[in-house]
Symmetry: C2
Subunit: 345 residues, 2 copies
DNA sequence: TTTGAAATTGCAATCGATTGCGTAATTTTT
DNA sequence: AAAAATTACGCAATCGATTGCAATTTCAAA
């Protein structure tokens, strides 16, 4: 077999003087075929370098053993980790992954989802992009009878399986930690509020302030500061205030926290003595900055595995109640140097 | 359409009292069908929320419009970037990506490749794992008439399309830079020599020493130091030598260089004054360590795009000569603080 | 009005594997 | 050894879309 057509079950059947049915059954290890014949078939299949045509198989079977994944960016630590986790768990079960990136564009996200529907994937796993709050395309997935699992950035109003982080609680703990470390005027760098994860983090921030009887100061809350650059910009404004904050919670990401660090450094403001900094996501770099950044670990790989397992688990379920299951993973506060106001950590 | 079957071209045909042939043609925008009918078909297709079944289509057409990618780890910056680049370029052309990770295991790599062959992918893009030097599985890909493109970590003996970095030259320039910066005893942390990329980097190192008339000192060359931990371990040994090096080229990765930095720090050896450090790969963290790390940028996203474009370009080619094309991308030395011996950068 | 070419549409086979149903072959049971 | 029960295998339809070829319709030129 060089350039020629690939071998099919018919080729094997012809060579052995039997039917394709038997070959198919043998290849699927059906017990409806004689052991001897089965062995013979296996052997010739091997000789002919036969490889099953999955397209045909899936078409007939009505499923694709393929899971589609849509994320804003593949090359972002958190998402890459989640995908790695999903891949690991699904590969063992013989499933394949089709990966798409929306690039934070709602339009491309819609395109991706439609492509995946076309591909006849058995399940679509998605973390929605930041712009857009119309989720017709996701409803469409459900209407097509395709399992939909949202993770991290989810459209809350949609009743689907979800795997999320307890953002509010994590945020609450982070801010509590800042307060208990002795910081008094704590600023918040927040992300786009149409994403629930950012909304929840803000709620956690507010809840912590309340719990410690600290008033909310509007000018310490900076909107839309979710990249390193925007974080830096927000920090410059904050630190130029008549009464600047003595801590900044970059609730959007460690990148944003990195921006904070750079600005503080440029302004010769000492972290953590004069300014406490807390990030989010435990990016690999956060432990090697100086000072290292206190942050929140989201167990991203585990999250991916959880998504995969959730799918397999629900797959077995006979449509009993179709209760939208939500799995919440508790993130962990990682305390490092950037919040050690009094030298203690 | 709720739980029911998905709509097919037959449903559309039935509703319109025509044949599936016409529907198919209309959907493929063939000029063999009347404009009016075409419009009508399009409209009803839309109304019925029709989505083409790609499996059936591909089965018939004999290709899958799918590209398989095998990398050691998805969640490693370099690979995530390459994949992002491939995705970007292929998505536009309506191709899908199936991603697998070998986890640096030769066995799993073989499995992955076979799965992809089964999946009937049109092309397999691979960066081989570190262990194993048997490439029968790759030959198998070729024998199945599937386009094979290797990138970065390639099996040189296999005549396939390749997209690589000019590792030797980059390495040569890095070491030259160290020498010109005033460092005299330059150590090398090298990676598994069965991977050509690491071999080439070593050659570049040796060539630079020779060019500047510096003798090779065997004890300054540390084998298999390609993780942060192994890099640190190697560094400890190097720095405990009677005559320790005054610079270390961590040719394997920035992670390894990070290990160097940490050990130097722990031993209170000043970088870059007493020890120059150069990494490889321009990981995002390399610019925010202190000091920031001189490293080599591999243009990973661009590399991915190049792989994709190479595929599309070759696809058109009628089997003229089947010359194995090799595209070499020139990496760029990024000079930062960790090699500024005399304060100059 | 007739004729011929061009434009549309239908028919039926095909891509490769799977599977329900029926029949033939084999084994087991009396 | 005959009847009953398995077991093994073949037949043919099916999954949904595509496409070469044939048939029909349309339209303009003669």
């Amino acid at each position: 077999m060089k350039k020629g057509k690939r071998t099919t079950i018919y080729d094997i059947a012809a060579k052995l003087g039997i039917t394709a049915s038997s070959v198919s059954r043998a290849l699927n290890n059906s017990n409806q075929v004689n052991e001897k014949t089965k062995e013979l078939i296996m052997k010739t299949a091997d000789e002919l370098n036969y490889k099953r045509n999955i397209l045909a198989s899936n078409l007939r079977k009505g499923h694709s053993k393929t899971i589609g994944v849509v994320v804003p960016r593949i090359n972002q630590n958190f998402f890459a980790n989640v995908i790695a986790g999903i891949e690991e768990a699904t590969y063992q079960k013989g499933y394949n992954l089709i990966i798409c990136q929306s690039g934070e564009s709602h339009d491309k996200e819609i395109q991706c989802v439609n492509t995946l529907i076309n591909q006849d994937v058995d399940c679509i796993v998605i973390s929605v992009s930041a712009d857009g709050s119309d989720y017709q395309h996701l409803q469409n997935v459900i209407d097509h009878g395709i399992q939909l699992i949202q993770f991290d950035r989810v459209a809350e109003e949609l009743e689907t399986l979800k795997v999320i982080n307890d953002n509010e609680q994590a945020s609450y703990e982070a801010v509590s930690h800042l307060i208990e470390s002795g910081y008094k005027r704590i600023a918040l760098l927040e992300g786009p509020q149409n994403l629930s994860i950012f909304k929840q983090r803000k709620v956690g921030y507010l809840r912590a302030l309340k719990a410690y009887n600290i008033g909310v100061i509007d000018e310490l809350i900076v909107e839309n500061a979710w990249t390193k650059e925007l974080g830096a910009e927000g920090t410059r404004k904050l630190l130029s205030l008549p009464q600047p904050p003595d801590a900044i919670f970059a609730s959007t990401s460690d990148f944003s926290a990195l921006g904070v660090l750079e600005v503080a450094n440029a302004m010769r403001i000492k972290v953590p003595a004069e300014l406490g900094v807390c990030g989010y996501a435990n990016e690999s770099f956060s432990e090697i900055t100086s000072p290292s950044i206190t942050t929140i670990d989201q167990f991203s790989i585990y999250m991916g595995q959880t998504v995969a397992n959730l799918y397999f688990q629900e797959k077995g379920n006979t449509d009993t109640a179709t209760k939208p299951k939500i799995i919440s993973i508790k993130p962990e506060l990682i305390i490092r140097a950037s919040t050690a106001k009094n030298g203690k950590s």
